[in-house]
């Protein structure tokens, strides 16, 4: 929108450079200026980190410096597992580097079938469909399940892939206040009874690391006749007796209709999936555009995923280490006086809440200079306009690494005035 027509005429002897009228790129001027102002303050660009070497699930070299990785979602530390790597190497040699095609045409190889079987076994369900990324799994499933005249009801703090899945489809979109059972109930009760409804929830919300009261929410959804999809991207491998996610931990396996997940976090490669016990679930493959109109995952990727998933089913020690690590770091950061995303360690994500961008960037930079990488997150990705330094734990983090992390947080927090 422009207000040019309302401006008084005047002659400007030193006009600023104006982008040509039809330059589609000029809409990014605000973003470019904001980023430049950040870089001019002398900090490393938080959104342009390069890992020059990766030495383990918890260590990389960034700008020539050994760095502890504390912001990678590599929860279960599977990326360097010898069996996982061997499976990938074998598939790479036997099936080549890529599939050149859609799952629907020439893009289904042995290991695409094997990884879907691994998922069915892991989740104890009859149906599993693999997508090229977790983002595309949400995009495809949500847009395909809910059609014109039907409703998608989503949490306001939902991941971008859920919002984009809503936009990709033709359903009516209604959102409710984050994790509010009451608000979900109120909204569902105002909708017409007849049309189909899909309530979309997440087990763990990745910005603050808080978990959803799924038991109450699923009960409300069922009361109103809605089907339920839960995104368990940030819980796979370490919630519930079989590591299936928060929904398993809360005893909802017979009530959740669809679970969406990813290979890029606990599984340690790339890809997304949806699992379900619905007898007609396979039909999604015939109708889902983000499944059909894209190339399938390379054989080495699905082979590593299949091996990793089968190992995750029995990774009890790793699961225990991960929780110990999350509890330890949460406790230390709390002791230091930081404001955290959750009162107790609810998941493997610990978010340190800061008041503004300057403080967040200064602290993020001090941590990086000290050899610790965390995620910085800012609005609009964050809830309620907060600036966050997000730590995600790995089962492979050692106690000496986390001690160092806590010491650096202590020094950096004092330096920027986030803690006393």
């Amino acid at each position: 929108m422009t207000e040019t027509g309302l401006q008084p005429e005047r002659i400007d002897f030193d006009p600023p450079a104006v982008a040509p009228k039809r330059d589609l790129m000029s809409k990014f001027d605000g973003l470019i200026a904001e980023r430049q102002a950040l870089l001019d303050s002398g900090v490393t660009d938080p959104f342009a980190i390069v890992m020059e070497e990766v030495r383990s699930p918890t260590e990389a070299v960034i700008k020539g410096r050994e760095t502890i990785l504390l912001g990678t979602y590599n929860y279960m530390g599977m990326t360097f597992d010898p069996d996982v790597i061997a499976a990938g190497e074998e598939a790479l040699r036997r099936f080549g580097s890529g599939t050149n095609g859609s799952r629907m045409l020439n893009g289904t190889f042995r290991d695409h079938m094997e990884v879907e079987q691994a998922l069915r076994d892991f989740y104890g369900v009859s149906g599993a469909i693999v997508f090229s990324t977790g983002y595309m799994a949400n995009l495809g499933i949500i847009s395909t399940l809910a059609g014109k005249g039907e409703y998608v009801i989503l949490d306001a703090d939902s991941h971008a892939s859920i919002y984009d899945g809503c936009q990709q489809g033709n359903a009516e979109i209604v959102r409710f206040r984050h994790n509010s059972v009451e608000d979900l109930d109120k909204r569902l009760s105002r909708l017409p009874k007849e049309p189909g409804k899909l309530v979309v929830l997440e087990g763990v919300y990745s910005m603050l690391g808080d978990i959803a009261p799924l038991r109450e929410m699923v009960a409300v959804a069922k009361k109103h006749g809605a089907m339920v999809l839960v995104d368990e991207a940030h819980s796979m491998g370490f919630f519930g007796p079989n590591g299936r996610g928060v929904y398993e931990d809360q005893g909802l396996e017979d009530q959740v209709d669809f679970v969406v997940g990813t290979f890029s976090k606990s599984v340690g490669t790339v890809g997304g999936f949806c699992i379900s016990d619905h007898p007609k679930f396979e039909a999604v493959r015939l109708a889902c555009r983000p499944y059909i109109f894209t190339a399938s995952l390379p054989p080495s990727v699905v082979a590593t995923a299949a091996t990793s998933i089968r190992k995750l089913a029995h990774a009890h020690n790793k699961r225990q280490h991960l929780w110990e690590n999350a509890r330890f770091l949460h406790g230390r950061l709390r002791e230091l006086g930081f404001r955290l995303g959750t009162e107790t360690p609810e998941s493997a994500i610990i978010a340190v809440i800061l008041s503004d961008q300057t403080q967040a960037v200064a602290m993020w930079q001090a941590l990086l200079d000290g050899g610790v990488y965390v995620n910085m997150a800012r609005p609009p990705a964050t809830p309620a306009g907060t600036y966050l330094l997000r730590c995600s734990l790995c089962a492979e983090h050692r106690r000496d690494q986390l001690d160092r992390v806590a010491d650096l947080f202590s020094a950096a927090g004092r330096a920027v005035g986030a803690i006393a």
Partner: protein, 82 residues
């Protein structure tokens, strides 16, 4: 007072707590341009309107609403359908 005027008055009363700049409210007042609301404010405000009138304004509908007048029309339509 007509129904529409009543809705207009209720809507503008609901806007006031969010009207940080003290903008004078008229039919053509825009939420983004004049009131300069961000997406979080919009969400809180929409929830307040929904509770007030016991309706649902879907995100699809919200995308089409730019001015106070358009919101009043949308509320009138939703109330009539309810």
């Amino acid at each position: 007072m007509s129904d529409r005027q009543q809705i207009f008055d209720t809507v503008t009363a609901q806007i006031e707590p969010f009207n940080k700049k003290g903008v004078a409210l008229a039919e053509a007042t825009t939420f983004q341009g004049d009131l300069e609301w961000d997406s979080l404010t919009v969400m809180d405000f929409v929830a307040a309107i929904e509770d007030e009138f016991d309706i649902i304004i879907t995100m699809n509908m919200q995308a089409e609403i730019e001015t106070v007048g358009q919101l009043v029309d949308a509320v009138a339509k939703l109330k009539a359908a309810a």
